[in-house]
């Protein structure tokens, strides 16, 4: 689905669009591509879902959203998709994934909530549990305390040229 030029383009744009009058021309210069082609390709990648969104990526913590809870549930496998779909519709949910259970880690459904404080996040979580019918499933809430590293996914040229 991605050709070599798409990969090259993504490699150059993933660290951010320059803040200058013609940013796509600037990206084009870096990967030897015309400005119009950069714009056309990005539009197509968005349409194909290979770019989920294109825009401002905020830093939650700096903007006062310091409470970050990862909640994990152990739900029956046949309900994961339905519950995940329901959870992800809440505006305060920032991520929702299914991951495999592990020995001593029975959880398979993950949800992330970023909020201004713990009390608010716990309230939102309660609302979520009620609305989605999650109260009977085992769960754990893991608040983050320290952030050691946060940046966007970096796909290296090696990753991007990998077939």
């Amino acid at each position: 689905m991605l050709d070599a030029q798409d990969r090259q383009l993504l490699e150059h744009i993933q660290l951010g669009l320059p803040i200058c009058p013609q940013p796509y021309a600037e990206i084009g210069r870096l990967c030897d591509m015309a400005e119009t082609e950069v714009i056309e390709r990005l539009g197509r990648l968005k349409q194909q879902g290979l770019i989920k969104r294109l825009g401002v990526i905020v830093k939650h913590r700096q903007l006062g959203y310091r409470a970050n809870a990862m909640t994990v549930w152990n739900v029956p496998d046949h309900l994961v998709k339905q519950l995940g779909g329901h959870i992800s519709r809440f505006a305060f949910v920032t991520l929702c994934y299914q991951r495999p259970r592990q020995p001593e880690w029975p959880y398979n459904l993950y949800c992330m909530i970023h909020g201004k404080d713990r009390a608010t996040v716990l309230q939102q979580l309660e609302q979520l549990v009620d609305a989605c019918g999650l109260s009977s499933f085992d769960k754990e809430i893991l608040f983050s305390t320290r952030c050691f590293k946060q940046r966007g996914a970096i796909y290296t040229a090696k990753v991007l040229t990998h077939e």
Binding site: A25, G55, H114, Y155
Partner: protein, 152 residues
């Protein structure tokens, strides 16, 4: 600290950043300000660490492969172990969480083989076993994050 223009830029351009030759000019017209004001405001947001970047969000596992990894590390060694792990270019998020499994990070690799090599190297470097939690399904439709910035 944040002006009304900063707040509009933070909230309204997370999803559909203009795909045109002069995107900042387009935004300026939509908001009734000058292109220079938009460029200045974005530079301020960037310099003050309010935004990570203006760019694409690439869905996990479409290009390369990613996995969440958890470790249980004694509190006294947590900072040192976390620093070692953060130094890997394949690691992009690394957080302490309140749990016996207190260190949680995300690894992005070319393929499964690369992923496992990174995990193995991290285990050898730190001396602690890593619990690997690859993503099986992503339910989230990323529409950006609705900020309430009245008090920011």
């Amino acid at each position: 600290m944040l002006s009304p223009l900063h707040k509009q830029l933070l909230n309204d351009y997370q999803h559909d950043f203009p795909l045109s030759a002069r995107p900042y000019q387009d935004i300026a017209e939509q908001l009734g300000v000058s292109e220079a004001a938009v460029l200045t405001a974005f530079n301020e947001l960037n310099d003050n660490g309010f935004i990570s970047r203006i760019g694409p969000v690439i869905p996990p596992n479409h290009i390369g492969i990613s996995a969440l990894v958890a470790m249980a590390v004694p509190e006294t060694q947590l900072q040192a172990v976390a620093d070692k792990i953060s130094a890997y270019p394949e690691v992009n998020h690394n957080y302490e969480r309140e749990h016996r499994l207190n260190l949680w990070f995300v690894v992005i690799a070319n393929d499964t083989e690369h992923l496992h090599a990174v995990i193995k190297s991290i285990e050898q470097d730190t001396g602690y076993p890593a619990m690997l939690l690859p993503m099986l399904d992503d339910f989230f439709i990323d529409l950006g994050f609705k900020l309430e910035l009245n008090h920011a």
